[in-house]
């Protein structure tokens, strides 16, 4: 216990200083951003990704990038969520669950497609098990390109939603 305390004292803050805020959300999103009042509960949906994006999302909420300081928090149920972070090309098996998750999320809700696969199926375009991009299944509001996208880009997207 003491050793842990010493470590805490020695380490101090590991979070990087906040980068300048990204440009505000597009007009069609602005209304919802206002309604969210700087707080965004996030539900991650892996629609069939290679888990590269998941690792980056994990980093985005880790101590270094600390998305929580902008009002974003990961929650356990889409009922509690405002934002869906969808990764990967939507496989046939995950298409229906993705729709259900979207339906279970209460208005106002925002869908962020994370990673190239989520935007245009990337590597897996035309694969026999692939239903299509996230945009083909549920309406996408923001997208974070990259394979995988860097944590700070994910954080930036989230900041556009929370507006902080």
């Amino acid at each position: 216990m003491l050793s842990l305390l010493r470590k805490i004292a020695a380490t101090g803050r590991v979070a990087e200083p906040a980068p300048p805020p990204p440009e505000p959300a597009p007009p069609d999103l602005a209304g919802r951003v206002k309604a969210l009042r700087g707080s965004a509960q996030v539900r991650c949906v892996d629609a069939g990704s290679c888990n590269g994006c998941e690792i980056e999302i994990g980093q985005a909420f880790g101590p270094v990038y600390d998305a929580e300081r902008y009002g974003a928090r990961i929650v356990a149920s889409p009922r509690h969520a405002d934002v869906l972070l969808v990764t990967g090309p939507v496989t046939r098996n995950m298409a229906e669950p993705l729709r259900r998750t979207y339906a279970a999320t209460a208005e106002p809700r925002v869908v962020i497609a994370v990673g190239d696969c989520a935007i245009d199926c990337g590597e897996f375009a035309g694969g026999y098990g692939v239903e299509g991009a996230v945009g083909d299944v549920v309406p996408v509001d923001l997208s974070v390109p990259g394979c995988p996208p860097a944590p700070d880009q994910i954080v930036a997207a989230l900041r556009r939603v929370t507006g902080r």
Binding site: I8, R13, A76
Partner: protein
Amino acid sequence: MIAALLVSLIQVLIVLLGAPLLVGAMRQLRAVMEGRVGGGVLQPWRDLLKLLRKAPQRPEGTGAAFRLAPLLGVACCAVAAAAIPLVSTRTGLGAAADLIAAVALLTLSTAALALAGLDTATAFGGMGASREMTITALAEPAILTAVFALAAKVGSTNLPAIVATTLGHGARLASPATLLAAVALGVVVLAETGRLPVDNPATHLELTMVHEAVVLEYSGPDLALIELGAAMRLTVLLGLWSSLFAPWGVATSAGPTRLLLALAVFAGKTLALGALIAAAEVFMAKLRLFRVPELLAGSFLLAVLAVTASFFLA
């Protein structure tokens, strides 16, 4: 009488408005200790305001129990806050401000929430309800026996009377009986508010959930009430604990300045306790569900020791 009602109103309001801030402060402290920046003390309020404006939903096949539970949760905490002498011993409920009644009210809100969890007919709802009720049932003996120890000395379960007597004889606080009772009730408070090591309020893994599993189905305004209720419950129980074992600063007389001072002291005490819990949680891991009975049995033992000590030693 008017003054007393005013006191109760003030207590309800400070708990209502302050509870989310307490939670925010605890999260903030935890974030800082983990080397993060944290969402800020106001974050819980932001979440609540947002949730209140979200579109309300009615999950298929849920009924009155599901809709009533969030309201009841907040209401019970509010009534308890009005009764317990958090700021002043002259509360609106006066003679009817009973310790057992206050505890029973909080149990009522737990039971209502458990019923709501069962009402959803989802596996997780039932699981959470079952665990929640198990813990509550086993916590009850420790609570009432500790109450027994405190009330036996004062000769009444009337909260203002207990607090006033303790304020009268500060030396009593240093007696083994009181200390043992304090530890026992402290453990129970942790269990009743779903903090570590009994329940992990920040878990995302359904299989380890207790309280979270019950509320998985709630959204929008209902969820806002649930979160507010949980925060108020934490505040009220911490306030009750500090009023019983550290009553300094609780006003025994009317008078605005006195009340303001008491208000400040109350906020300070509650924040300090909250900080203590939050800091301790950094070092703790969650207990297995079937180790929790051991914890509660221990707290029951301490409570019994408190009773015997209050009789034999002091």
